[in-house]
Symmetry: C2
Amino acid sequence: MTAPFPLAPGSTIGIFGSGQLGRMLALAAARLGLNTHIYAPTGPDSPAAQVATEFTTGDYTDEAAITRFAKSCDALTYEFENIPAQTAALAQSLKPLSPSASCLDVAQDRLSEKRFISEKAGVAVAPFEDIKSPDDIKRFMQSINGACVVKTRRFGYDGKGQIIIKSQEDIDAAWAQLGDKALIAEAFIPFEREVSVICARGKAGQSACYPLIENVHRHHILHTSTSPAPRDNPDAQKLALKIMNALDYVGVMATEFFELPNGSLMVNEIAPRVHNSGHWTQDAGCTDQFEQHIRAVADWPLGDATPKHSVVMTNLIGDDVNNWADFAAEPGTAIHLYGKQEARQGRKMGHINRPQK
Amino acid sequence: MTAPFPLAPGSTIGIFGSGQLGRMLALAAARLGLNTHIYAPTGPDSPAAQVATEFTTGDYTDEAAITRFAKSCDALTYEFENIPAQTAALAQSLKPLSPSASCLDVAQDRLSEKRFISEKAGVAVAPFEDIKSPDDIKRFMQSINGACVVKTRRFGYDGKGQIIIKSQEDIDAAWAQLGDKALIAEAFIPFEREVSVICARGKAGQSACYPLIENVHRHHILHTSTSPAPRDNPDAQKLALKIMNALDYVGVMATEFFELPNGSLMVNEIAPRVHNSGHWTQDAGCTDQFEQHIRAVADWPLGDATPKHSVVMTNLIGDDVNNWADFAAEPGTAIHLYGKQEARQGRKMGHINRPQK
């Protein structure tokens, strides 16, 4: 159960998940002389498996395989929040898991997340309601006197499993589409802008926060992240750390906020992992979020989170990646591609970091 | 024989050699969505094999294995210059090899290298002589009227296979130790400082040069590289490009110089590959030498070679690496470790890049 922290070079960090976040975590670990072992249901061609020291294909419910995997590692983490709670608990019983299974438990369910943030951490979120029937939605809209967004409590990302509700017809349509799933309704927030912060917290409770990021979405998928945000909001890091302290969080966490016209912040959601809105850190002249997460998981001192450059990150979605040669020819533009074979529509294929003008 | 240049993401670059240079090349290629296949006589625990997409253990003279390896790749390169000429020629007959087999041929033999640089490229080197007997050394010392260094023509690195000769006793001792190998003698140069430049050259003859680097050696092993050098010598890049143009070189090349008290430069040696004195580029806010080499080999546009920060690179040799936790705690210090299991004396285990004060 105890690993020799801090993990010495040559130790192995196990990562659940084999997408681009796992890939960039594995690359960062390699730079520090740390090995990675990826566990995922996907094949050896998946983004993280291609670059990790070891790779196990296995289902997230295969307890025997997960036990073997955990035992082969010195510490464990994950690149996405949809690992079953039981798997996380099993893994944590075998080797130190950061962020902990309880952080995952909070963050993988929008309802428990909203309750934790507002009630335990005392940080503002949009008004929300547990939804068990079409009438619950109707009552919620009456209580907030306006439109709302109905979302699945689990497994949503990039706008999937979300429907904006303005009328009874919308309610009926939403119920037809999502009524078989556990749902939450959140008040529709007429925000001024979407911002996020990436913070790291270590095992001793020490923390390091990157500057405020301004995010622009297209078709519900992150399009650009600009760091630092053209206008700061100094509350963001304080609120994020309040949540992280309440969770006794270890690792990098992203906190996404809506900023209201009066400048106040409401948490949209947290991600218990490295996050797309932190990819600019790779080319900002400081420790990047991937290395920062690895440092926290391995109980190394946290790295420098003060960027030397301003950066605009742009996601390459689907066919965007076909323009790689143009991006490669742009002076000062850094290209990061994820090794995905097929450029399907809406699929994150890579990103570019450009100097902010 | 022809690959679809520029190599699209998902293509595979084959690399001969599995040391730290191959490792950092593989990590840079992964960032660009390019796969790597490492070929080396070492095992899967070797530095580059740990992070590459594919790895083949094989001898550099195993023509069948090399043929299979080359056919599995879209383009080929190498991380060190001691691949047999026949192997390079075979590889080049199957897939594009950059730098070419003829560059390797010139650079792997100190005599052909010195002759090429001085006679073909017209760039100054220390006076040198082909040595076939102890008397040849004596005659050479008389001709230069001073001390010399006797070196093996091939396979020398980090001061190995080099003896300073000041007397007849030294000649006898050197002959007893090295007399069975092909030798060269070079005039001992009372240099003011050792400097190097890292330049890249593309398939169309375009080039990109990093600033002058000042190098300090300890026990014949590179200790620190400072970029930019505290005092510039603008001839260095011009001379390096003269040599690279004469070689029709493709890729990153390091040129090491002695700077004489009058400021003139003499080439000490060239390395047809990425080079230890270019490791600072990883944390200088520009395209690093590893990505730059991959870009040249893949025929992508060359990246930005203008650093945004000044950096001092310090090698971690042998036990130095045991202080990793101290380096990790230094704000602004970037750590790069090579995944080598055993910290033997004189072995390069990693390096750190610190901001230049």
